[in-house]
Symmetry: C2
DNA sequence: GTCTATATGGCGATAGAC
DNA sequence: GTCTATCGCCATATAGAC
């Protein structure tokens, strides 16, 4: 294993327990523990997304979270576990929007809706988007298996929806996967290349007007680009 | 300066001398020196693009280039100089395609041409694209100044071309910067997210059929998306 | 749970022989 | 120009007191 590889190493990453509603004995303590863990996770996401796994030190994270280095090791047994837990959480959020693809609906509504949801994700979770991008760009050492299995099968499923639109003549012929890539790339660009966007336009998605302008620009381009040519 | 920051530190990065045609005394030796430097640069690009600046060790690069660690330090005085020289080279290639934007031309030709050139870059220099992306995503500590000045002014220039197309009614109204972002994001996606693309489609741009299919899908979507609505 | 040491190992960079 | 040996630093992680 080279320095640069990060693997699961058999580490079991236990998902965060949801805080319980009934406060049994010990529940309050557990909640406090979970809350602090959650807080560290959020802080760590922010740091990891700036400097990458290797560029980030435990001390940086500890400082940002206002705890000591050793204390951090009380909540996460090592750097990898911390990193993996974050990636796992990101993946869930990243996938949610795609559920809007349903055959019954009108393509225009579905596509507009999906584009907006993805762009909202770029606006509200830009750090998560960037960490995800960092992971993929470096060969997805952790997520590769996931991409080839779960993600692939989800996309095949959604592709059928798009194909049905094509065969019903609702949109013009296009490779469904290409269409999805197109939406992913244009929307994520505003999170991943945020610095470049801001350097050139002076704005980013947190600017409401810029968000709306961007959203409708992408929506229009895709909707109009998919209209069947008139005979 | 945190561990993760990489700055110019006043380091002057001297561009590689072009090998001379006339072989003066000492020229042959210099050429050999330059060639080896160039070879190290190419090897290092490959490694940096996989693991990032901090994830890459000098030893990895040296091994890949089949030289010793100390020998590498003979050609580059430190890790940063090596990294900076690479980034500088990338920037040049990255910008070349945009010169196709000229007002005199037909928008459809220009856009199709530009999309193809950018996609060729994603196909032929995917590692450079990924290293560039790594740099931007992490806040462009080195390139930020460049983005805000040179790149911004180039884009403002090219925007005028696009605006003239709009005002002449050749394409429908669109924010020129947004249009350029769309082309950048959709084409670079196939280099930066190459692993994801390959995991899902089983192919990448090195596959000729896939390249052509992708190229025309992007071209069509953008060209058709920009067509003026018929009255 | 949180703290003060401290062990351990890796990595960038240099010295100096050849 | 290339090599062997090594320095010095810094980051992860642990031990053990409180």
């Amino acid at each position: 294993m080279t320095k640069a590889d990060i693997s699961l190493k058999g580490t079991k990453v236990q998902p965060l327990k949801k805080p319980r509603t009934e406060l049994e004995p010990g529940a309050r303590r557990r909640k406090k523990f979970d809350d602090k863990r959650q807080f560290i996770l959020e802080t760590a996401l922010s740091v990891f997304s700036k400097y990458g796994f290797h560029g980030t030190t435990i001390e940086q994270i500890a400082n940002s979270a206002d705890i000591s280095k050793t204390n951090l090791f009380y909540y996460f047994s090592n750097k990898e576990e911390l990193y993996l837990t974050i990636l796992e959480n990101i993946l869930n959020d990243w996938l949610k929007p795609i559920t809007v693809f349903e055959e019954v609906d009108d393509p225009e509504d579905v596509l507009k809706n999906y584009i907006r949801l993805k762009l909202e994700l770029s606006r509200d979770q830009p750090e998560a988007s960037r960490l995800f991008c960092l992971e993929i760009i470096q060969g997805a050492p952790i997520l590769k298996g996931y991409l080839e299995n779960e993600l692939k099968s989800i996309l095949q499923d959604k592709s059928k929806v798009i194909e049905s639109w094509v065969s019903k003549g609702k949109i013009k012929p296009i490779n469904p996967i290409q269409l999805i890539f197109f939406i992913w790339s244009t929307t994520q660009h505003f999170a991943d290349f945020n610095v470049q966007v801001k350097a050139i336009t002076g704005k980013d998605l947190s600017n409401k007007k810029f968000f709306e302008e961007t959203c409708s620009a992408i929506q229009q381009l895709i909707i109009d680009g998919l209209k069947r040519p008139r005979l």
